[in-house]
Symmetry: C2
Subunit: 185 residues, 2 copies
DNA sequence: GTCTATATTATGATAGAC
DNA sequence: GTCTATCATAATATAGAC
């Protein structure tokens, strides 16, 4: 838990990386081992199976999400603005691991599917006190999903969000989300 | 083109169905042939390769999208409302084929990736005359992506949109989308 | 048009040396 | 902890009978 072996992290990085750049299907044991610069045997010492690799990636995601949620509720611009903005931060560690787990989920991995549904529940419950209506909260989550989805879908080409600040203003205004007025609904 | 052989369509249906119910990874030639009730050889008479299957599914999608766009711009509730609403129509033919192609795309199929990006461009260009600002248009597309994404992600469990009409009202109001005021932006 | 083999390669996983 | 075989299975695709 505290300071895992270097090679193990390297393999996990490689797993994530191959999923992101070439798709889940390319992320075979062979390919991941090669990317990490270890032999297949070496990989299998740290992760005894494909499922073990997935579990480790999910753990990494949940760890990073917990940190992100903490920062989000403390953001001076308000949690909703922070949430929308970080949804679009392509390429940071959190976004990468969520996209990777999302790919595993949409490929039929039950563990990853459950992890993504839990993630959405965490987002919902964390933002709930800051959005006055349930519909508004759903709109916010859907926009975030949409942003994420556009990152996740294309391998290579990603449509840009032209004016993120204007989008945030539109969403927060439409939903009545402001700093911390506790919800009525 | 006009009235393709029955077995061919049956195989294509099976391909789509397996992708949707068990994930892209499960949609092997063997599995698809079995689902369609033909032998592997029979399948390969109609579709000489895996890529040929994908191409045929993409064609089907593009055909259905063209029909849908036509209906959308003629919808009495306005194209934007029609667009958001049909995004959530889980299980109809259009939604099924888009989800299936989306799964192929997120698995690294270059053809499907391109097809999905084209699809988004078609949506963008078709809705553009009905939304006064580009940011508003992006919000609408993101919400639709979010709805679609939630359909696509989970194999089995899908979070429900609690109040679709309220969501549509919120989105159309926020974006200034109404019947046909041509865009200024 | 549809079938039954079968070839070829790739995949996840094991065994055991170093 | 990391490596080199090696195995069993499953994948795409081919060949050729019916």
């Amino acid at each position: 838990m505290s300071r895992p072996p270097l090679a193990r992290e390297k393999v996990l990085d490689a797993f994530e990386d191959v999923i992101l750049t070439e798709g889940e299907r390319a992320a075979t044991m062979d390919r991941v081992a090669a990317q990490a610069g270890v032999s297949k045997g070496g990989l299998l010492y740290h992760f005894a199976s494909k499922v073990a690799l997935e579990e480790a990636l999910i753990e990494r995601m949940e760890r990073l999400v917990a940190v992100d949620m903490k920062e989000m509720v403390e953001d001076p611009a308000g949690p909703v603005a922070a949430f929308i903005r970080t949804s679009a931060q392509t390429g940071d560690e959190l976004d990468r691991v969520i996209t990777a787990v999302g790919r595993l989920a949409s490929n039929g991995s039950p563990l990853s599917g459950e992890a993504i549904r839990n993630l959405r529940a965490v987002w919902h419950d964390t933002l709930q006190p800051f959005v006055p209506t349930e519909v508004g909260l759903q709109l916010i989550l859907l926009v975030s999903d949409g942003v994420y989805f556009n990152n996740a879908l294309a391998i290579g080409a990603v449509p840009e969000i032209a004016d993120m600040e204007a989008l945030i203003t539109m969403v927060t205004t439409a939903t009545g989300a402001e700093l911390p007025p506790p919800r009525i609904d």
